[in-house]
Symmetry: C2
Subunit: 362 residues, 2 copies
């Protein structure tokens, strides 16, 4: 009996072993993985944190959990601006952020997100997928062991908030204003004291008069920041950020180790998250601007002569900057030559339509 | 020998049977499926046929072939406009087309694709995903046993081609022009003889003078049709089709029979195809309009007083039409209330930006 039960036990163990290996073998064959996604955004920040979470959930659901993406909001695993190094060095698998945040890593990165008087959301999507930008994007990120994807392009933005009206170039002189990038550089060349203040301190700085004004995003993003409680005038157009590219960047070794179906899932989920992000911001901006106007915010147009000056200075600043680095020059050349084509279409397509609709129904 | 060989044959047949069932069992367990996708487009029609193929390929690749989508171009399995009935009746699993093609099935369908002075591509995406349209879309298609998704929104369009310039309302009287939908109805109310001519015969009709003009799409679509060989003036803006929704529609029983990961793959691939479609048309329109202008095409703006008249008549036609059907009224109300929000934003966002860029760089 004993011997038989032992044998039976062994047989059972063997069967269990077989069952376990039968279970594990396909799991390995299917390349079951868990990837850490770090972001530069607070958890569930509308339109960005929520978009990263949407991406993570869709990858996990489409792969039936064979590729599970776990999201870590800013600071949970690495600091908000530490995501680039973390993924580059393999301490996390991918990040969700925006290229302009890492302009210190490579001059080329300054041209991938958005530039003053640059591409709108739709145009940026066209440039990445049908205008040659993805190849340059891959080339610029490869030295950092990274594989980048466009994962979001929010809608148009506003120039920002002020308590003082701007009528002439003289009104800009000595103004303390927060604006990053080439837009800020153009303002600086027109005599503005351009300042850099952490987002969390902006509202208080505006309230106390430590700064005269600030840009942030469009109505959807700005409403949540509460700037309307501290400033009366809301200036347009957002000349400096017409359509800011948000990126999903994967560690290159991790990317290469993924099987083709998992690579496709990441690629397609990035495109889909991009679509959702564009929709969320567009719908959200329409809601938010109505709310802001109801609360007494006054919309003001930056005068055309000032916009022309801003364009002249930002164009000069970008051309100079591009000259100082071969990769930056390649991206800049691709961007400006594509923009030229868009300029031959948008006055007859988008601009003419929006103007006609406002005229007819506005 | 004979008996043995018979036995051997039977054993071999048994083994083959076993092999087949061993092969099929996991296939069933994994929910392996092949779905037939029929379209209203010719094979590889730029931006539409190609987009349907992109969708099919991505679903197949992401699912590792456990959900294989086989594409049938217009006429291969069913005629171009037979796709709705084929999928509704279960003779095919899904279709890729546009809601306005099936306006005869339900009055509500007239409001899902595009209407004159309606939503632009970005706004339409916002309406479907963040403005309540998807719920109405599901409700309107359910009686036909269909589950619909937005799968593409091409860029802005042009009003169309003419050999005669339009300066006043009088110039419209008696003009023979091809334009479908509410835009065509508005033209008809202004004295235009609105005609309906199959796409394949349009160029010849324009050449022979059988018609005075026609709309089609934007520069990317129009260039391929060759209208510039038969007409000199290219009118803008495309007031009648600012952003036409393209749809991926699945048989409802098929949809319900799919496991969750396959449903997510279809949903996410639809969003991604939408993004790609928008990018392809935007980039393509910029290239195409430059080509057309080089070939001598003259761009002409439809005068504002005429656009105002067109808006008045199309708004009246839509309101009347909506009143005649409860479901159509629900969709119309959602669309017009969402459009109102968009009208409070686009003059400060999109329109102001496009105008500033043209002024500064154009």
């Amino acid at each position: 009996m004993k011997r038989r039960s032992l044998l039976r036990g062994a047989a059972a163990a063997g069967a269990a072993g077989l069952a376990a290996s039968a279970f594990q073998a396909p799991a390995i064959a299917q390349g079951k993985r868990e990837l850490k996604l770090v972001t530069s955004w607070p958890k569930n920040l509308p339109g960005l944190g929520t978009s990263a979470q949407w991406f993570a959930d869709k990858v996990t659901a489409m792969s039936e959990g064979t590729l599970t993406v776990r999201l870590y909001a800013a600071g949970e695993l690495v600091p908000p601006f530490g995501v680039f190094d973390a993924v580059s060095q393999g301490n996390a698998d991918m990040y969700h952020a925006a290229a302009f945040l890492f302009a210190g890593k490579s001059k080329a990165f300054s041209f991938f997100s958005t530039v003053p008087f640059g591409l709108t959301s739709d145009e940026l999507i066209g440039w990445y997928h049908y205008g040659g930008a993805q190849a340059l994007y891959d080339e610029a990120y490869a030295p950092f062991k990274l594989k980048p994807f466009l994962v979001g392009v929010p809608d148009f933005t506003m120039m920002g908030w002020l308590n003082k009206e701007i009528r002439t170039l003289d009104d800009l002189k000595g103004l303390k204003y927060r604006m990053p990038g080439f837009g800020g550089e153009a303002l600086r060349r027109l005599g503005v004291a351009v300042v850099n203040i952490p987002p969390g301190e902006l509202l208080q700085a505006l309230r106390s008069g430590a700064i005269d004004g600030t840009e942030w995003a469009g109505p959807y993003g700005d409403l949540g920041m509460g700037f309307h409680k501290a400033a009366k005038y809301y200036y347009y157009p957002g000349f400096h950020e017409p359509g800011t590219g948000v990126e999903l960047v994967v560690n290159l070794d991790v990317w290469k180790s993924l099987k083709r179906s998992h690579q496709e899932i990441i690629r397609v989920a990035s495109d889909a998250a991009n679509l959702q992000c564009l929709g969320e911001f567009t719908a959200g901006n329409g809601e938010a601007i109505a709310t802001l106007v109801k609360q007494g915010v006054q919309l003001r147009k930056m005068p055309d002569p000032i916009l022309k000056e801003l364009a002249g200075h930002s164009e000069a600043a970008m051309a100079d900057f591009a000259k100082s680095d071969p990769m930056a020059k390649k991206v800049y050349d691709s961007l400006t030559s594509y923009r030229k084509k868009m300029l031959s279409w948008s006055p007859y397509g988008a601009e003419a339509y929006y103007a006609a609709r406002r005229l007819a129904l506005g």
